[in-house]
């Protein structure tokens, strides 16, 4: 008896969130699932039921598959490069060196900037004639490495990736910083008494106790990479060719430019399922550690 009352009491904590979810999320989510089985242009009344055809077409769609490949590429780069930088920055700043407050603020400026500003700046940096990147190469006498960064099929994707990672470091940075706070000082103090060096502390205390935060950041990073949209449009809009197509951009274009709304929702569902599986794997992996 007491247990049921207890459970109801616990349930009340989730109730507000659930109320929001049921009101504002269930209907769009349900509609998305439902529409994925139809062919619909997004505006007129005629919707044709096509069963799983949208899903089947997705697997044959070379542009969609390329965008997935690009998404994975962006995610891997971000996981390795962006998060390493963010982690190092967080650890360093956390050492309470001088001016750490200054660094804490400055490192979060990129995520604060609007998409317009970031897109414009990086377009300018990459501009083949007037951009700083080529300008610096000239100064360093490395002119043979100059490129039309955003138009060249070999460099377009990585250029977009760098711009996006630059903006993303700040977010990972403050999450890591928050995570570092959860490690009790005493552990470090005790290890120093035992004669541990900085690196030993790092590998035996910091990293294991950050595993949860690392998982959160990984999941959010992968999500961010696969759902990247706002920065790609001003930079390359998916070009040249389809070199910088990313999943969210594909979905957006299919829905609003190509008038294939049903197909776009099927792509969203597929993407969601993929991300769900990846996230679950990461969560479970951490638990078994």
């Amino acid at each position: 008896m007491r247990k049921i009352g207890d459970q109801i009491g616990s349930f009340l904590f989730v109730l507000p969130a659930l109320a929001f979810f049921v009101t504002f999320s269930i209907y769009p989510l349900f509609k998305t699932f439902q529409l994925s089985f139809f062919q619909w242009d997004g505006m007129t009344k005629n919707m044709t039921f096509v069963g799983f055809q949208n899903y089947i077409n997705a697997f044959r769609d070379f542009i969609w598959l390329k965008s997935l490949k690009n998404g994975v590429y962006l995610a891997i780069l971000a996981l390795i490069i962006m998060n390493s930088i963010a982690f190092i920055l967080a650890v360093l700043v956390n050492l309470r060196i001088r001016c750490s407050k200054f660094y804490r603020v400055v490192f979060y400026i990129p995520p604060i900037l609007s998409g317009i500003v970031v897109g414009f700046i990086w377009k300018w940096i990459y501009d083949p004639n007037y951009g700083i990147l080529n300008g610096i190469l000239d100064i360093l006498h490395l002119s043979q490495f100059k490129r039309a960064w955003l138009s060249d099929i070999h460099t377009a994707l990585i250029s977009v990736s760098i711009a996006s990672m630059w903006q993303g470091v700040g977010g990972s940075f403050i999450l890591f910083l928050a995570g570092l706070q959860g490690i009790p000082e005493e552990l470090y103090e005790a290890s120093i008494v035992d004669g541990a060096s900085f690196w030993q502390q790092f590998f035996y205390i910091t990293i294991p106790l950050m595993s949860r935060t690392l998982m959160i950041v990984s999941i959010l990073t992968i999500l961010g990479a696969m759902q990247l949209l706002t920065i790609v449009i001003p930079l390359t809009n998916g070009g040249p060719g389809f070199e910088t197509e990313v999943p969210a951009l594909r979905i957006y274009k299919e829905a609003f430019s190509n008038y294939r709304f049903g197909y776009a929702t099927a792509l969203s569902v597929l993407l969601g399922i993929m991300l769900f599986i990846i996230s679950i794997i990461q969560i479970k992996l951490r638990r078994t550690d």
């Binding site: 969130a17 009101t23 504002f24 603020v105 400055v106 317009i116 009790p184």
Partner: protein
């Protein structure tokens, strides 16, 4: 000696990264001080003259007195709403038990993972059905909802790592669930809560699609709306746009400045206790 070298390298690394972060801000401000033709002709960082009046022009032409107030109202309501609702839910997922707990949690995760194209369309139809379209509450409520998934996800993990011993000693002292929540869990998770305050404030402040769809009364529009007046169909007045963007970026920076110290706030006091 070795320690000193290390310190120098550390600072070098940090400073170079800091420069890349500050650079856009410098560029924004420099552009905002140029004249129209200078923006396109003079690509240098240093403007020929300091046209501070661009800021005044941007403020008035962008109608910011109205939009700013609106954005502040929306952002505060949305963030407060998200913090309350998500901390309650995350606490429950982390520490309490109730039927269907896992299913509900994964349902929330789904929201975070599926990018719904044009989610604003069924959302708007719903708002019309509820009769709250073109109202402030009709904007704030769905916005609270959109921030819940990620916040709950992050917070649940942080709540889970709060040691059980703290809970147990509090229960022995006679705390019920709710007191546990606000006396112990909430303060201990302050770093994580500050983080989600910042994340959500940022996305609420920068949002403009749902606002455009929901509001037909221009006096209820948020601050991003003010930026569009400077972006013409064929031409953009960048100097005013950058002045406006700088103005808009300031409140977020100020918010971040005040919140970031909670992220590194020492919790050693509570742990020792």
């Amino acid at each position: 000696m070795k320690v000193k070298l290390n310190r120098i390298f550390i600072h070098l690394f940090l400073i170079s990264y800091a420069i890349t972060c500050l650079f856009p801000l410098v560029w924004m401000i420099s552009t905002s001080l140029k004249t129209t033709s200078e923006v396109y002709l003079n690509r240098n960082l240093i403007p020929k003259s300091l046209n501070f009046e661009n800021y005044i022009k941007a403020w008035t032409e962008g109608n910011f007195s109205i939009y700013f107030t609106n954005s502040i109202i929306y952002t505060i309501s949305i963030v407060v709403g998200i913090v309350i609702v998500s901390t309650l839910a995350a606490y429950a997922f982390a520490k309490l038990n109730f039927p269907f707990k896992n299913i509900i949690y994964y349902a929330f995760l789904m929201m975070m993972l599926i990018p719904i194209p044009g989610a604003f369309v069924p959302l708007y139809v719903l708002l019309v059905k509820l009769g709250i379209q073109n109202t402030r509450i009709g904007y704030i409520l769905p916005m609270i909802n959109s921030g819940l998934s990620v916040s709950i996800f992050i917070l649940k993990e942080f709540f889970e790592q709060i040691p059980k011993e703290l809970e147990e000693s509090a229960v022995i002292d006679g705390c019920n669930k709710f007191q546990l929540y606000y006396k112990i869990m909430f303060p201990l998770a302050l770093p994580a809560i500050s983080t989600i305050v910042i994340f959500n404030a940022l996305s609420a402040w920068n949002e403009y699609i749902l606002a455009a769809v929901n509001f037909t009364d221009p006096n209820k529009m948020p601050v991003q709306q003010g930026l569009f007046i400077f972006q013409g169909q064929y031409f953009t007045r960048y100097e005013l746009l950058m002045a406006a963007t700088t103005i808009i970026t300031l409140p977020i920076i100020i918010l971040y400045l005040s919140m970031q110290r909670y992220i590194v706030k020492s919790i050693s006091g509570a742990v020792k206790g």
